[in-house]
Subunit: 179 residues, 2 copies
Amino acid sequence: MNLRFFILGLLAQRSMSGYDVKGYLKNLSWLIGSPSAGSIYPALRTLLRDEWVTVDVELREDRPPRKVYTITEAGRRALDQWVDRPVGPSGSMKAFMMRLIMASHYAPDRFVALMRQRRAEVARYQQDLTNSSALPGAATDLGQRMALDYALSVAQSELAWLDRELGRVSQEVSLVEVQ
Amino acid sequence: MNLRFFILGLLAQRSMSGYDVKGYLKNLSWLIGSPSAGSIYPALRTLLRDEWVTVDVELREDRPPRKVYTITEAGRRALDQWVDRPVGPSGSMKAFMMRLIMASHYAPDRFVALMRQRRAEVARYQQDLTNSSALPGAATDLGQRMALDYALSVAQSELAWLDRELGRVSQEVSLVEVQ
DNA sequence: ATGTGCATGTAACTGGTTACATGATTCG
DNA sequence: CGAATCATGTAACCAGTTACATGCACAT
């Protein structure tokens, strides 16, 4: 589902063929594992089916025809909703990062809203972890304690990053307001 | 696949029924989302198929019969291999944490080996991220830069945790040696 | 000739989730 | 009387991966 929306987001920036999408995703391999044909073409098909994109076939001599996909108004609305939709039970950093990339193409307040939402989500998760560690059985198992601590320290660093960036961005926004 | 091995790991500690597994996993909801029947029973079936576990049916009056699963020798070997098997392209913290919990029931050197392996994996991922940020196109997109920075800061905190714990554990091990 | 780039896709599989289905017992 | 606990499972679906399949053009 995420990849589907991410591709939709790319198409919101400019119309592309499946092949173009593949090329684009190659530079994001740290975020999305392998941008193989097997994920992209089926995703494009469902986007088409839902009428979130349209196709134009470009016929050229000497080369295989390209199918260029263009986002529709309905597609933009769906994308908007996806960006704002909570990422759900923390753990999927990737889902957040995908949204972050897309949200950066909207106005700053949208961007800030996303980060704040993520902040709340991670804080909730952190609370969950803390509660779990207070549970009777948890304290006994060494591995469990360490895994919890690992997860907690990662959550902490996420919060630190979010707070830092939220601070930075909101400062920038107010600077713009002053100008 | 991970859940399957994790359940196998639980059975290595003591024999249990599917219901027991479900109850145990409930306390680990921060690690494994929902320990629903739909994931557990099918997993047990495949463990049985592979002869990594055996079943004993406990018939009792007044209560539904329990199927108690017990790990086999082949099961233990499979578990051993899983613990040592690299967790693969970083991102799955959960896969690592599951292994960490299981590895804590082995000797300390096994535990240390796992953490060192994870350290190498995360360091490699960090390098990937750094390389990506050096790429021409990446620097232009704000969202992309931020997402990269987010991922980097998380990787950094993982490394810090691993180094700290590796230091602590190896110190403990050498203290034991001195005694 | 061999491989790389352009360009499309399908099929089978994996690892999981959600919801459904059943049925007795015990506790408040 | 209703809810929770004990106890088993199935079926449909979802998002994604791997591997397969095709075919022409251009460069080494």
